[in-house]
């Protein structure tokens, strides 16, 4: 990494990127295309967080079976994020509770944060990508 710094003649640029996901899957494409950005973004060695708020928490719901609507079930890709070293997944507690869900309903481990903590996390970012 220090090689890169010297080559570029400046401090290596690591920013805190947050992907803010607030929409349900399948009804719109945002969940899927957000995930596609995350996968590409993983190659850039930035500090990446994925946040699931409101209906975005439904993206991580276990047991999705989308054959009947003619769409591909892309939810297994969330499980592959670990292989891309994307490991910071956060879910808002209030959003889960409003939907009667718990961390056990989710297909990947995600840290559950209350609104106050999550708000602080949002404030600590450099770049927020919303879909």
């Amino acid at each position: 990494m220090s090689d890169t710094q010297e080559t570029e003649g400046k401090q290596r640029n690591v920013k805190r990127f947050m992907f803010l996901n607030r929409k349900a899957p399948y009804g719109t494409i945002y969940a899927l295309e957000s995930l596609e950005v995350v996968l590409i973004g993983a190659a850039f060695d930035q500090d990446v967080s994925l946040v699931f708020v409101d209906d975005g928490v439904y993206q991580l719901k276990k047991g999705q079976q989308s054959k009947g609507i003619g769409q591909k079930n892309f939810s297994p890709t969330y499980r592959a994020l670990e292989d891309y070293d994307v490991e910071k997944l956060y879910v808002e507690r209030e959003s889960l509770e409003a939907r009667g869900l718990t961390a056990e309903d989710l297909l990947v481990p995600a840290r559950v944060l209350g609104a106050a903590e999550l708000g602080a996390l949002m404030e600590a970012q450099d770049v927020v990508l919303s879909f």
Binding site: Y26, G27, T28, I29, I69, G70, Q71, K72
Partner: protein, 119 residues
């Protein structure tokens, strides 16, 4: 029974066109007739023949074209909405044709039911 279908959103971004397609397939399987599918608002983007989604995904435009060919369905792309969004004759996939909003009203008059899919 004769169904008219109105699609107000483009492919992929919203589920509207998928739902409309599934509805049309099911209606035909039940022995009903599709009087016309009218594409309005961003729905006109469903007619773009250049769409090329990933191999493991459905090609919505091609699905509509195939259904129209098999069942001789009239698929109308609104000329005004299409002009606004750059969907013109040279871009149309098989089975789609461009016409005026009158075709939507006509579908409302002639079909027994008009079912709207949008956002």
């Amino acid at each position: 029974m004769k169904f008219g279908i109105l699609v107000n959103e483009g492919p992929y971004q919203h589920q509207a066109s998928d739902s409309a397609y599934q509805f049309a397939v099911a209606a035909l399987a039940r022995g009903h007739q599709i009087y016309r599918v009218f594409f309005y608002n961003d729905g006109v983007n469903n007619a773009n023949k250049l769409t090329e989604p990933p191999q493991d995904d459905r090609n919505i435009t091609r699905q509509w074209s195939a259904l129209a060919a098999e069942h001789d369905i009239d698929m109308v792309v609104c000329v005004a909405a299409g002009m606004r969004r750059g969907i013109k004759d040279e871009l149309l996939a098989p089975g789609f044709h461009i016409s005026g909003l009158g075709q939507l009203i006509q579908a409302g008059i002639e079909a027994d039911r008009l079912v709207v899919f949008g956002d």
